[in-house]
């Protein structure tokens, strides 16, 4: 059935020109916001890279493998900081991942009545709102005394293991790791919980209907279905841990060295920047920018790896 000309014009006129203009205007506006965010990222990377250029030309890849940070001779290398960044975040992840996912499981299943569960969920999320300088102070006054005693015992008993081979003096890599673990715990717990809660209830029913127990359902259906969300949360947390500055600087000891012992002092890229940026000039600033650029790249690599893991697993299950 053909439409009459009249009907065709009616279809065309159904919405006023103003409504249509607003519509396309809105699409443009949101599009520009999206592009804008991406451009800010690119702009920061370019700027940091540009400022780092003199140091990149001077030291090249040797910057990544040298442990010398010598403002007097103007020779710089950031290996201890790269090492410290990776190790402190890894400690944090190893502690926070099992606890955070455990908390997420506990708070997403119906173990607790709603009235108790809700406030706990809220409090876990509130952990993320504590300023990092407060974490740092708490680390110095509360965490260090506790951890030092445990560290002394570990060193006395298991000192032959390289990880525990020095006597803890107070601040150190292990304190930074634990503080970071507490700081990223709410990120992992909250995002993992959202991912678990978002798993369609039909899958749970299907699993129970096939005679799976609660734990089989949890480990074989719910967790795999929430896997990509959980990995996303872990990556976000890892990024936060690697970039965290204030708390780390306050408890890591800021020593420019690499020691396999977790009880020794160290530094991270972020703590290096915080410590030196104010008084730096010339090639030293450029080297700090180079270090920042490296941090940028490490974060990028971690995210790409995470994406690959998620894809790999999604193809398998």
């Amino acid at each position: 059935m053909a439409l009459s000309n009249q009907q065709v014009t009616e279809i065309k006129r159904a919405r006023s020109p103003l409504a249509r203009q607003l519509d396309s205007g809105f699409v443009w506006l949101t599009g520009m916001f999206a592009v804008g965010v991406a451009l800010v990222l690119v702009a920061i990377a370019v700027r940091v890279g540009w400022e780092a250029l003199p140091a990149i030309q001077q030291f090249g890849a040797g910057f990544l493998t040298s442990s010398r940070w010598d403002p007097v001779e103007d020779i710089y290398g950031a290996l201890p900081q790269i090492y410290g960044t990776l190790v402190s975040s890894l400690i944090a992840l190893l502690i926070a991942m099992p606890i955070g996912i455990g908390v997420a499981i506990f708070l997403s299943e119906d173990f607790l009545p709603n009235k108790i569960q809700r406030p706990i969920v809220f409090m876990v999320e509130l952990l993320a709102a504590i300023p990092s300088v407060v974490y740092g102070l708490w680390g110095i006054f509360v965490l260090i005394p506790i951890l030092r005693n445990m560290g002394v015992a570990l060193n006395a008993g298991l000192g032959w293991i390289p990880l525990f081979s020095t006597r803890p003096t107070g601040p150190g890599m292990y304190v930074a790791g634990v503080i970071l673990a507490i700081m990223i715990l709410p990120i992992i717990a909250a995002i993992s919980r959202d991912a678990l809660v978002a798993v369609p209830p039909e899958l749970r029913q299907a699993s129970y209907g096939l005679g799976a127990t609660r734990w089989e359902t949890l480990f074989k259906v719910i967790l795999p279905a929430a896997f990509s969300g959980i990995v996303g949360g872990i990556m976000l947390a890892m990024g936060r841990a690697m970039g965290e500055t204030m708390a780390t600087t306050m408890v890591i000891g800021n020593a420019n060295k690499i020691n396999p012992s977790l009880f020794d002092q160290g530094s991270t890229i972020a703590s290096l920047l915080a410590n030196q940026f104010a008084e730096a000039s010339g090639l030293q600033i450029s080297s700090l920018m180079y270090a920042a650029f490296v941090l940028f790249l490490i974060t990028l690599i971690v995210n790409v790896l995470a994406e690959l893991v998620v894809r790999r697993v999604r193809m398998k299950v």
Partner: protein, 261 residues
Amino acid sequence: MLAKTDTVIHTNDLNIYYGDFLAVRDVSIAIPNNAITAFIGPSGCGKSTVLRCFNRLNDLIKSFRLRGNVQYHGQNLYAPEVDPVEVRRRIGMVFQKPNPFPKSIYDNIAFGPRLVGYKGNMDELVERSLRGAALWDEVKDKLKESGTALSGGQQQRLCIARTIAMQPDVILMDEPCSALDPISTLKVEDLLQELKEKYTIIIVTHNMQQASRSSDYTAFFNVEQTPKGRTGYIVEYDRTEVIFQSPKEQATQAYVSGRFG
């Protein structure tokens, strides 16, 4: 009576509550072996509720309570020594909305058998189950692909295959065709006729033709308003021909002929 009785599930004055709310009352029904029994009736009259009592899936609902008893081959399903997990392995369920796991087709089928530590040849079991659900020819070349990538009708047959891979005794189906197109619906109906050779099937359906075409027995449910809410009950239960051609109750007659409400 024989150990494996002609009656598979038998309920006696079953009353089902959600909290204080009496959802279904006075259900007394005997489900015969190797036959298809249909539950029909308006929405909210408790068909799903009764069905889910038969494999103890209602246990997952905290407010659920039950009075009366459900016998499965003479064994009280709600006796304290009965393990609901074991019950669900024998009494499988297909849901209204197809719910394949976000895993490969193969792993969807193998999920249940792996839970019970199936020792036989898994590839064979997967093939047999998919053939049993009339899905093998359509998916045999893509067993590694995700079950969620199939069409709705294929997903539902995958769910049926997944259920029969457990080699259950009874299959409960809660409006298995309500989310499917007419052609997929016919495929599932054909499948029902094959399945009843081996299994006892109870199917909830809103589709009168489906009930009259496919089932051997039909229970007609209705609801009545009580001070505490709308309570469902079975109006009439008989052979399907009787329910559709010469029901005893006026309400049944009105419902099956479409003059209801």
